[in-house]
Amino acid sequence: MLTVGQLSRAELGRRLAGAGIRLGTGRFTTSLRSAIPSVADGIGLLYADYPLRPDDGFADFHLQLTRPRNLRRWLGPQVTLLYDGRSLFKPLPLDQAFPMFEWGLNWCVSSRANRYLIVHAAVIEKHGRAAILPAPPGSGKSTLCAALVGRGGWRLLSDELTLLRLDDGAIVPLPRPVSLKNGAIDVIRDYVPGSVMSRPVTDTVKGTVAHVKAPSASVARAAEVARPGWIVFPRYVPAAALQSEPLARADTFMQLAGNCFNYSLLGAEGFTALADLVDASAGFRFTYSVLDEALAFFDHLAAG
């Protein structure tokens, strides 16, 4: 199987600028075209382990990142994301082209793949059981996730989108780069030595962002589903002592529903899937400030 990493940077750039590549990320195949060098750089760096699916095969999403041909291209160059030829979002500064690909692909999955209940949550796995970490932005979810998969021996299923298969309640992996913001970028660079990170991009709507490469082992096991084990609502509080308290099922359910992309869209099916998930998992409210302590807590969970 051909992977992105088997192409030279020059060949990758040529193919992206030409007919495009068919990038395999777990269950999904994305056709991607772009002549923008920073997009090829980001793909080459962070997606080296991912399979290239056949050019004459089927793609779930067709994305193109391109520079809009307007007057602004002389003043402040921009990038626009096309979904099968149609522009769906406002253009961004050209520098944000690679983050825009990541956000665009998240949008594709979360707005279309409606045979999954999709929770805005990181999800990691050990011994076949998954820990779901739902959280509003800024709660330290991605930092915790990057630390757990980088040093804690957990498998990355996803940093953003927990996909719960409606047929059988299994969690379907979608391992992709972990998105870090602002201070978290330096924290993880120090905490996970040797982590591969994209060049930080400043002044995005989320501040400065950088993406960390998913562990190769997690990418290799992208077809292996996991059973739900825990639902942990993390909160980073500077200098706070580690604290975890079990959360009642009803509270877990309501908080999780609030973090779903398509809960109401799925109607009764979504309700049943979420209820089964909550039944199968232990819920916790979790406060941390020291990553070492947080990792020990998760080890304890997995051992229990």
Binding site: G57, D60, D84, R86, A113, N114, N262, L265
Partner: protein
């Protein structure tokens, strides 16, 4: 040059043939269906023909994803219809639903997988003000506050300015006729209302009689100038004709009713292009009867060139280098049919120059 007979048309004409498609064909077919707003519909059509289980899994998944959206949409529409009926209850009139909402309430084949943005209802012109007031009391508010737009709708059009619910944001179009007052053809709304039929199980709701429903669908598609959903609307017609056409009495009434409502020309186009593009079978006697409503041979050749392009999905793989021109010309034609030339010129001038200037002044 891209083909004028896209894969999607072939799949809609002969759904069973799709089992032979390669992965790359499915890739293109689903993109065309997505661009035409027909993804969920295609899934239902393939299921009806018993081939859904025999297509590649990723393609079947995409169709299923789209069907979740369509199913939710249908639920939401049914709920809106219920609230509209409650809002209009005091008027003592049956609520006549048109287009998408009608297909949905009456459970007609085009409702399967269809997505639409507003609910259309028809009320007698004499009750227009009452209906508007009742809807406003229930939370719907007019959306066009500009004095010119108000005049445009109330004096010249066949509907009130679109209303939007202040909390749920659902849109409703209240019609008193199916063509603008300014159009040359004036289908008699009283005839449509008199023939409307009750929705089974919903005595307060009505939909147009089968022939009238087909004629309304035809007039909407072939006199309007917007073709963003052209193919979807043509598929509606195809599915209505297949459904009602099982009854010979439907075909017998269709052409006489079209003449009665001054809608023979749109019916001619509807039958011609459902047959040409989607393979709908029209009984020879009906085709012969409607032939008199055809335009001159020269004009017909032009219309063929225009409609054959404008009715395709708006997608890079469909149409050719004349497609954009065809859509542009049909847009002008649509306006031309809606308004006499002088009024049209005035309207387009106003929209091009005065409305933007006013918007700028208000924004400043």
């Amino acid at each position: 040059m891209a083909p004028l007979a896209p894969l999607l048309l072939h799949a809609l004409r002969a759904p069973a043939d799709t089992v032979a498609l390669a992965d790359a064909d499915w890739d293109l077919l689903l993109r065309q269906a997505g661009a035409a707003n027909l993804l969920a519909t295609l899934g239902y059509i393939l299921a009806e023909h018993g081939v859904l289980d025999r297509i590649p899994v990723p393609a079947r998944d995409q169709l299923a994803w789209a069907q979740v959206l369509a199913r939710r949409h249908r639920q939401a529409v049914r709920w809106e219809i219920r609230l509209i009926r409650l809002a209009l209850r005091e008027l003592g009139l049956p609520t006549i639903l048109l287009k998408g909402a009608a297909y949905c309430a009456a459970g007609l084949p085009p409702a399967q997988g269809r997505l639409f943005s507003d609910i259309d209802i028809l009320v007698p012109e004499t009750h227009l003000a009452e209906a508007e007031a009742a809807l406003m009391l229930a939370g719907w508010a007019g959306t066009h506050h500009d004095a010119y737009d108000q005049r445009y709708y109330r004096e010249w059009m066949h509907e009130l300015p679109p209303m939007q619910h202040t909390r749920r944001e659902s849109m409703i179009d209240v019609h008193h006729a199916i063509l603008p007052r300014t159009a040359a053809a004036r289908p008699d709304s009283a005839l449509l209302q008199a023939a409307a039929v009750a929705v089974p199980g919903e005595p307060a709701l009505r939909v147009l009689a089968p022939v009238d429903m087909v004629l309304h669908s035809a007039v909407h598609l072939f006199t309007d100038g917007e073709f963003n959903n052209g193919l979807r609307d043509l598929v509606d017609l195809q599915r209505l004709l297949a459904h009602y056409g099982q009854d010979a009495r439907f075909w017998a009434r269709l052409v006489p009713r079209a003449h009665e409502l001054e809608l023979a020309r749109p019916l001619f186009y509807a039958l011609r292009y459902t047959a040409l593009l989607l393979g709908t079978e029209v009984p020879p006697a009906v085709s012969a009867d409607i032939a008199a409503a055809a335009p001159s041979p020269l004009l017909l050749r032009l219309m063929d060139e225009l409609f054959r392009r404008a009715l395709l999905p708006v997608h890079d793989s469909c149409g050719d280098r004349f497609s954009a021109t065809a859509r542009g010309l049909l847009y002008l034609r649509g306006n031309w049919l809606r308004m006499p030339p002088l009024l049209l010129a005035r309207h387009l001038l106003h929209k091009a120059f005065l409305s933007p200037r006013k918007a700028r002044q208000e924004a400043a």
